[in-house]
């Protein structure tokens, strides 16, 4: 069985390593082969970017060599896919090489598209890339007070990011002794302050406590960079001195170009995680169109289901597991406290009061991620 994993992020790496362990005997006997195609020879711990934006982590701490994270039997190539030829069970890569497969796993992730809103890329700080996170930190360092606006586009990676960055900003300015000089205003596109209802219920009194103003039903239409005004589709405006943005995301360009899914999100079976109409193609992580958060934890839980099912299909001819929509998100709540949200298709999250132990659990996870992505945790 030729298994081709496209994408070397969290989901792709976990599924490849998990399969390498489950099919160790078959790989030795040359009955199975795992190939991974990635756009980079480095693997980034993406949640760490928020820490970079506040000077709590250095960019080089976020990276490991991708090959060092993979089981040695995985055939790894830095050669991104340029065309999916699903009807012929093959892909064509940037180098022009054709890779044929029996089973394909697509885990290509997502990208930010601030350029789709006039003025947003130039006018706002964000932290979804290494460069932007470092730039945001430098802007925060220079900021001496004034109006700070936080705006959110959808869909976006890491559902908790809008509230986490708000708490982190409050803590940062407080630590610098200028919190009383900063007017913080949070904007959210739907009619509550977070898409997950229980997170919204929990965050609202926290925002009130730390003095963060909020405006809901605010979908960013454009940013007037010259006059420092952010305007909404709903007709309202907010003046700012510093604008922080959680930009909207899209799937990767190749997914859109090959018409695999609108917006770069591939239509995916919510339990089997197969691409609709293609039983030998699995989709993982941000790339799916599933109604679950675009987070590393969702990619992780999905990868375990996909790996177990591919292995069981090879061993007994049938899949054995179904994905239940499980997501687990840490929520840094400021003051060295954290809590978490765990939910699935059926059960909404039940947030516990934040505490220091959960904050340390999150700090520990920042390191344990490398064990997790190797398929150990």
């Amino acid at each position: 069985m030729r298994i081709l994993v496209v994408g070397g992020g969290t989901g792709g790496t976990i599924v490849a390593n998990n399969l390498a362990r489950r099919l160790a005997g078959e790989i030795r006997a040359r009955k199975a082969r795992i190939t991974m195609l990635s756009a980079s020879d480095r693997h980034m711990y993406q949640p760490g970017l928020l820490y970079v934006a506040f000077g709590q982590m250095m960019p080089d701490e976020l990276y490991r060599d991708q090959a060092s994270l993979l089981e040695t039997c995985i055939d790894f190539h830095v050669d991104p896919v340029e065309q999916f030829q699903l009807d012929q069970n093959q892909v064509r890569t940037k180098s022009g090489r054709i890779h044929e497969y029996d089973v394909l796993v697509i885990a290509t992730g997502s990208r930010i598209v601030p350029e789709e809103i006039p003025g947003l890329a130039e006018g706002a700080e964000t932290f979804y890339t290494e460069e932007s996170a470092v730039k945001m930190f430098k802007s925060l360092r220079e900021f001496q007070g004034g109006k700070l606006a936080i705006v959110v586009g959808v869909p976006h990676k890491c559902p908790i990011a809008p509230v986490e960055v708000t708490f982190a900003l409050h803590d940062y300015f407080k630590a610098r002794g200028i919190r009383d000089k900063v007017e913080m205003k949070y904007h959210y596109p739907i009619n509550r302050i977070h898409s997950i209802e229980n997170v919204a219920k929990w965050a609202k009194p926290e925002f009130d406590r730390i003095g963060v103003e909020y405006e809901t039903l605010f979908n960013v239409k454009e940013v007037d960079v010259k006059n420092k005004i952010v305007k909404s589709e709903e007709g309202t405006e907010t003046e700012y001195d510093l604008l922080i943005s959680i930009p909207a995301h899209r799937g990767m360009e190749v997914i859109e170009k090959d018409k695999l899914g609108v917006g770069g999100w591939i239509p995916t079976d919510r339990h089997q995680l197969t691409m609709e109409g293609h039983d030998n193609v699995y989709v993982l992580g941000d790339t799916t169109n599933l109604p679950v958060s675009k987070t590393g934890s969702a990619a992780h839980f999905e990868a375990e289901v996909v790996a177990e099912n591919i292995a069981s299909i090879m061993k007994i001819g049938a899949p054995v597991r179904e994905y239940d929509g499980k997501v687990y998100c840490f929520i840094e709540a400021g003051h060295d406290r954290a809590t978490y949200a765990m939910f699935n298709y059926k059960n909404p999250p039940d947030l516990k009061p934040p505490n220091k132990s959960m904050h340390w659990f999150k700090m520990s996870y920042n390191q344990m991620y490398w064990t997790s992505v190797r398929g150990l945790l």
Partner: protein, 147 residues
């Protein structure tokens, strides 16, 4: 008729002492936990977690390494341990002899004198046998795809 039993005052006092002792221990434990929490920092937690993460990865690689597992099985045999001990002793003795012996003068005469010694002949025979068995073992390893 019902019988009522009364706890003797001495037993009540002993029970109270036990509870007080338990509470004191719990209090000590709570102080220890609070103290540990206060002493910890994000830096320390990060370093500990990093070490743990690398340790788990290393352990995983070692325990799934077939060559290492075979080596451990071989080392578990008494004759292997005896061999390593004798080799260690031989290396120690050689080190001492070399340190005290005068430097070799070289030349064919010296070589012939050395070749006449029974120890040299035994050593050459051992090395010859080692080469023979080692070659056989290497061939077997290659045949099984282990090298």
């Amino acid at each position: 008729m019902t019988t009522q039993t009364e706890t003797p005052p001495a037993a009540t006092a002993a029970a109270s002492d036990n509870i007080a002792h338990d509470l004191e221990q719990l209090s000590e434990l709570a102080t220890l936990v609070t103290s540990a929490r206060d002493a910890m920092s994000d830096e320390i937690v990060t370093r500990l977690a990093s070490a743990l993460s690398e340790g788990i990865t290393l352990l995983d690689r070692l325990t799934r390494n077939e060559g290492l597992m075979r080596l451990l099985q071989v080392l578990d045999r008494p004759e292997s341990q005896h061999l390593l001990l004798s080799l260690s002793e031989a290396l120690g003795a050689m080190s001492r002899d070399i340190a005290t012996a005068p430097p070799a003068k070289g030349g064919l005469v010296g070589l012939l004198r050395l070749a006449r010694e029974p120890g040299t002949q035994e050593g050459l025979r051992s090395l010859s046998l080692l080469g023979q068995y080692w070659s056989e073992s290497l061939r077997e390893l290659h045949r099984r795809g282990g090298a």
